[in-house]
């Protein structure tokens, strides 16, 4: 016998449920947002509470160019996904590579900034509260960018091996959700660290 049948099987046949990848990624994004919230709260709470210098006003410079890089990568990854859905694999790969390049450029920007802070201003994670909270918050974000870049690169490698087709469009869409999230978090971090915090 079949396991269970309802006495009323003559139901309308349409039964659509959301795609599990998107729902799972949304869950991850909610969880990650909570983690970032705590770090942002700590940053704001400790603003101006450092006993010794340097202070944000003295040493921070607004990374406008690299911010533009990261934010525009959201656009390229979105367009890449659209191209894949339409079956244009080549343009997809080009746009995908541009996304990776923009993300890597952003990380390079973070590296430059950290290098300058450490070697010119002597600000490390243990210098004062500003150092602790700044490197933790920006570093947490950079970690997420790095993780994103690893995943994007894996997709690129599969793409170069001709394994990414229209069938993977939904998965690519899920991955781009993560990338959009990383970008959106940067808007918050940027606002908190470089605008409010100075």
């Amino acid at each position: 016998m079949s396991a269970v049948t309802s006495p009323f099987t003559e139901r309308s046949p349409e039964w659509t449920l959301p795609y599990k990848g998107k729902v799972g990624m949304a869950g991850l994004i909610i969880a990650e947002s909570a983690i970032f919230t705590i770090f942002v709260v700590a940053y704001l709470f400790y603003l101006g509470k450092s006993i010794t210098g340097p202070t944000p006003r003295e040493v921070l410079e607004t990374p406008i160019f690299f911010t533009i890089c990261l934010l525009s990568s959201s656009l390229t990854i979105h367009l890449a996904g659209k191209e894949l859905e339409n079956g244009h694999r080549k343009t997809f790969l080009i746009l995908w590579s541009i996304t990776i390049a923009l993300g890597a450029l952003f990380l390079f920007g973070t590296a430059l900034e950290w290098h300058r802070l450490i070697y010119e201003h002597g600000l490390t994670i243990s210098t004062n509260l500003f150092g602790t909270t700044y490197y933790s918050l920006v570093g947490l974000h950079a970690t997420h960018v790095t993780a994103g870049l690893v995943m994007l690169t894996v997709v690129l490698l599969f793409g170069l091996a001709d394994r990414v087709g229209i069938d993977q469009a939904a998965r690519i869409g899920t991955l781009s959700l993560y990338w959009h999230f990383v970008d959106a978090v940067w808007i918050v971090v940027f606002t908190v660290v470089y605008i409010v915090g100075r």
Partner: protein, 557 residues
């Protein structure tokens, strides 16, 4: 029909080498096996945490006792709290959710089976790390072994100066790792419930267990993560010389308390909501009535989840917040009582006029209702800031939260064990041993935790190693310890029952309780694929519809 069409080979019939069986369990991604792994793992830690509780109680049995050293005592209450919350309550509830949710919504597995296995092994690793501290924590000479900073690990106790050696790091990393496991499971449960429901299983027809686990998972996402964030900060402080909680450099010890309790209080609801879920499945079946007020139950749960996110600082009335904060957290904390009260009335409404069967699961459920009510009432007392100033940090608080966790959560869990054990193993648990377990545990519980309230009111502070022979204290503590031993004996009866019934219990059949949800439609234990054909449901009680085609629920929905 389909059974002979499929001709499933009886793989379990022949004896296989032990290694093969172990390999199968270690590499499994089956939600039922992972569920059982979670539950067995939690039961092992329940025994360990219980032994730690017994050591605490023996130490406190009379004034000026010195069975263990103060250092060991601190380790015992730290490990007891951490173990019971993170490695007993969380895994056992995740285990039940893992096992039951796919079966109840008519799915063949969780949405991400490999993530599911990954999450379990993360949790398992967390528990092992925590207990490895007994061996590996002795980093510097005399640095001590197991963590002794309390399960809340307030700063600056965790600073390098006060917590040398790696013992606190074992605590931090164990909780971080198992926290990631919890987040994985929560994501998995949400995706399963939203994306894998069988045809006709609209949100409005979903069993309450699935609904409540959905809400619980949502809470895990936003409540466990603050703890993970705070643990990362603590690691930065301890290993990279950061100053998050370093008051010497302008850091704040208070903010650790905030971060911890932003996790810590919602955590209580993460634990109790799945227990509400058990109640909402068990009470209707043994009252032979559908649940009373289904939509209100869902609404109240969501309401609890929301309000519980804004009550955390009621753990911190004594640190000296301003009067606005005190008033805010008093009001929100009392407000949680409203949706919780609605739920209690709904369960009573379900029992009202029903033909109640006093089987063991129902006995534990009734115990839950009564004790959870009292726990809620002392909660409302403590929610009032001035009252809290008097009794915070006393045994009254210890009594209150053990009333929630033991009287509420553990009783609900025992009900769930007696109710779903037949489904998981194919055998009934013994009713005689079950009733013995219930009454012994009930007596032990009340001896211990009722009396603890009085000790608290008499002024006995918590977290103390020993105490002066003040009037009443010695007698009360003796009674509390006797109660603890009776509970220990009851747990032995329970474990005996689990083991004995596994081999000798009566065969359960598919549906021993004449219940209504989909898990009872398949064999006990269910086949690996759960459902030979995915069911189609038309009401909240699909099995009722199947058994009563002349009067199906779907006619009234």
């Amino acid at each position: 029909m389909s059974s002979d069409a499929m001709a499933i080979p009886s793989a379990t019939a022949e004896a296989r080498p032990c290694v093969e069986v172990v390999h199968e369990w270690v590499t499994t991604v089956d939600h039922k096996r992972l569920g059982i792994l979670y539950i067995v793992y939690a039961l092992l830690f329940l025994v360990v945490g219980g032994i730690e509780a017994i050591i605490i109680r023996i130490q406190l049995i009379r004034p000026h006792n010195d069975l263990v050293s103060p250092q060991v005592f601190n380790r015992m209450f730290t490990m007891h709290g951490t173990t019971m919350i993170f490695f007993v309550a969380m895994p056992v509830l995740f285990g039940f959710a893992n096992y039951l949710v796919p079966l109840m919504i008519g799915a063949r597995d969780m949405a991400f089976p490999r993530l599911n296995a990954f999450s379990f092994w993360l949790t398992a690793l967390g528990g092992l790390l925590l207990y490895f501290s007994f061996l590996g924590g002795n980093g510097l000479y005399g640095a001590g072994n197991a963590p002794d900073v309390g399960w809340w690990a307030y700063a600056p106790l965790t600073a390098k100066a006060f917590s040398p050696g790696p013992s606190s790091d074992y605590w931090t990393i164990a909780l971080l790792v198992s926290g990631f496991g919890s987040i994985g499971t929560a994501i998995n449960l949400i995706a399963t419930i939203l994306c894998l429901r069988c045809m006709g299983m609209t949100l409005n027809r979903m069993p309450l267990l699935a609904w409540l686990n959905l809400v619980m998972s949502g809470m895990v996402l936003i409540a466990i993560t603050p703890l993970s964030a705070a643990q990362i900060m603590l690691l930065v402080d301890r290993y990279l010389g950061g100053h998050f909680f370093d008051t010497q450099a302008g850091g704040s010890a208070t903010i650790w308390m905030h971060f911890f309790w932003i996790f810590g209080h919602p955590e209580v609801y993460v634990l109790i909501i799945p227990c509400f879920a058990f109640m909402s499945e068990i009470i209707p079946v043994f009252s032979r009535k559908p649940i009373f007020g289904y939509p209100v139950m869902v609404g109240a749960t969501v309401c609890i989840a929301f309000v519980s996110l804004s009550v955390w600082a009621h753990h911190m009335f004594t640190i000296g917040m301003n009067s606005y904060a005190n008033s805010f957290f008093t009001i929100t904390t009392m407000a949680v009582g409203v949706p919780t009260g609605i739920k209690i009335f709904n369960w009573l409404g379900t029992m009202w006029g029903g033909s109640i069967q006093f089987k063991t699961p129902m006995l534990f459920s009734i115990g839950f209702l009564f004790q959870f009510l009292i726990a809620g009432l002392t909660g409302i007392m403590l929610a009032s800031a001035p009252f809290d100033w008097q009794l915070s940090l006393s045994y009254f608080v210890v009594a209150h939260f053990h009333y929630v966790i033991v009287g509420g959560i553990l009783f609900a869990l025992f009900a769930a064990f007696y109710y779903w054990y037949p489904k998981m193993t194919g055998r009934m648990l013994s009713e005689r041993l079950g009733k013995l377990h219930f009454w012994l545990f009930l007596i032990g519980f009340h001896l211990t935790f009722d009396v603890m309230h009085f000790a608290g009111i008499l002024g006995m502070p918590r977290r103390i190693y020993t105490y002066e022979p003040r009037p009443g204290w010695g007698t009360l503590n003796l009674v509390v310890t006797i109660g603890a031993f009776i509970q220990g004996a009851a747990i032995l009866v329970f474990v005996t029952n689990l083991v004995y019934s596994y081999f000798k219990g009566a065969k359960a059949g598919n549906d021993p309780w004449d219940a209504w949800t989909l898990e009872w439609s398949v064999s006990s234990p269910p086949p690996a694929y759960n459902f030979a054909s995915i069911p189609v449901v038309a009401s909240r009680r699909p099995l009722w519809d199947l058994k009563h085609p002349e009067d199906p629920d779907s006619r009234y929905e």
